[in-house]
Amino acid sequence: MSELLQTRQPSLFEFARAHVLATIFGVVMPLVVFAVFVGYPIVYTVVLSLYEWNGMTPTKTFVGLANYQYMLQDRYFYTALFNNLKWLAVTLVFPVCLGLVIAYGLRAKILPFPTLVRTVIFFPVTMSLISVGLMFLLILNPLFGAFDTLLQSIGLGGLVMEWFGDYRIALYTLTVVSGWAFTGMPMIFYFAGLGDVPKDTFDAARIEGAGHARMLIQVAVPQLRPVTAVVVMLTIFESLRAFDLIAVMTKGAPFGTTNVLGYLVYLESFWNSRFGYGAALSVAILAVSVGLATLVTRTLMKGAFDV
């Protein structure tokens, strides 16, 4: 507003002269932190991806695009990349949609005890993923695990599986566990967002004869688009960080089928001492995240904030 009201924007230089302290600590300092902790590491990573380096010796060997050529032929890279995408897909469906439904249920007073529900569902968000992983290792343990015991006692013993050992389902076990820990996040965003949607539109829809399913899909969701944009962004970055759970639960096993790109970076760099290749994989993560973020900005965010 005030910018609109001003006849002329002061130049950066004029501003700096009028507000010395604010310029130093409010503009320059955070930009320096950005440069040191974000800008420099990214440049460093991109440069390092052109070298071969074991992480110990001071010498690095320039290899050009060799690391990238290797990456494109690396079976583990593709597995990890697709695992990241599957992880994202499951997270968008399970915790995000469920979080929305729970938030709607709370706002529409279908779910009783709203404070209890919010506390309980949000609680895992405050747990470290290491704790979450360890907890589900106990619960899904093939010998003493509560989950298998429960399935057997209600006559569904046939469903018992090697939750982490079976290469076909191990990744999904991980994503479901991560979804369990993440649901509170979209729930709380949607809960806040639904509080901002004009109440009258729900009343009007109800009078016109809409049921809850229709109100959720045709009235709530379209009006929640700005919230959804933020939630999807969060989900993308959350799923790209899928590292902790893998580190504690499967370490990529069985046979690397639960690797994600982030974990592969760690393995290649710090276990296989191939820092150059690790850096190339980091660049791939960066490319994927920038690509997905652009996609979200172009689709969901577009016009989302002027409804």
């Binding site: 004009p198 009007a204 109800r206 009078i207 004869g209 379209p222 009006q223």
Partner: protein
Amino acid sequence: MAQVSLTNIVKRYGAHVVVPNLDLEIADGEFVVLVGPSGCGKTTTLQMIAGLESISGGTLRIGGRDVTHLPAKDRDIAMVFQSYALFPHMTVRDNVNFGLRIRRTPAQKMEHIVADVAERLQIAAYLDRLPRALSGGQRQRVALARALVRRPGVFLMDEPLSNLDAKLRVEARSFLSKMHHELGITTVYVTHDQSEAMTMGTRIVVMKDGIIQQAAPPLEVYRRPANKFVAGFIGSPSMNFLEFVFDGAALVRANTAVRLELPEAQRCMLRAAGQSRITLGVRPEHLILQPREVSESGTIGFQIDVCQHLGNETLLDLAEGAFRAIARVHPEEDASEGERRQFRIDMERAHFFHVDTGENLSLAPQRNGG
């Protein structure tokens, strides 16, 4: 087409009672206005009729059917909201036919109905726009159209005009009245604006603290208010209230020479009521400015504090000791601020209220008789 009948309706939030016990019969085709200050329970009552609030006790019938516990969609009603409650992400067309789509109306028929209503409400040109591209008045008509397309038995309106500017509001008022004349749909209309109530309703229901104070046609409410609250709420500027002592023949004030003789009918009525202290209610137009030379007998003197010249009339803000009053006089009248003048009270049209209960003594035997 439907009548609405509320019998012993109660609304409670926990221990807090909003509507203690409400009875109201609304005939088919009536335009009933629920009016009262904010917090009087009028909106709660409307929402109970709509099915947006649960009914804690009593029976609600619409068109003879008991709908007390039916969901909103099965009550054969439509509603227009104060905020219009248009779906911001849908075009005008989709807003208008939302209810029809839910009821799976055949596309061709729907097209026809929407076109017809859009024509009537003059929004046909905007059907493919989003609500945010419309002006306030247009949005209001879209909200009306959405309510209208289903041809509901009852129309519910919650302050539908309060978001419009003054000029549009007057237009919309007569538009709504005209529509009601043409279609004859039973309408329950909530407002806090007494002038809306006066001009639109075939019957006004004045509420306070969840209790109906009076339910009667507008002019009846204006001329024969059931109590001091109704008398003060309806009419602008408000009725003047002056406390007097009735000495059996005239109204007097202690320690003053003021003595207002009463006509015989009023004297009998007040004697029958057996009250010595009474509140006299006089509408501003019944406080008649006297020429300067007239003697003081039978009149009451006021200091003129402010003259509000409205062009077609002049309002005089008056003071006399603890008394405050407003008189409505002809704009040509020669009165100036700071002057002390005599006023005659048109006793035939004055009202006498019980000092404590506020009940209108002249209506006492047949109270709530509207």
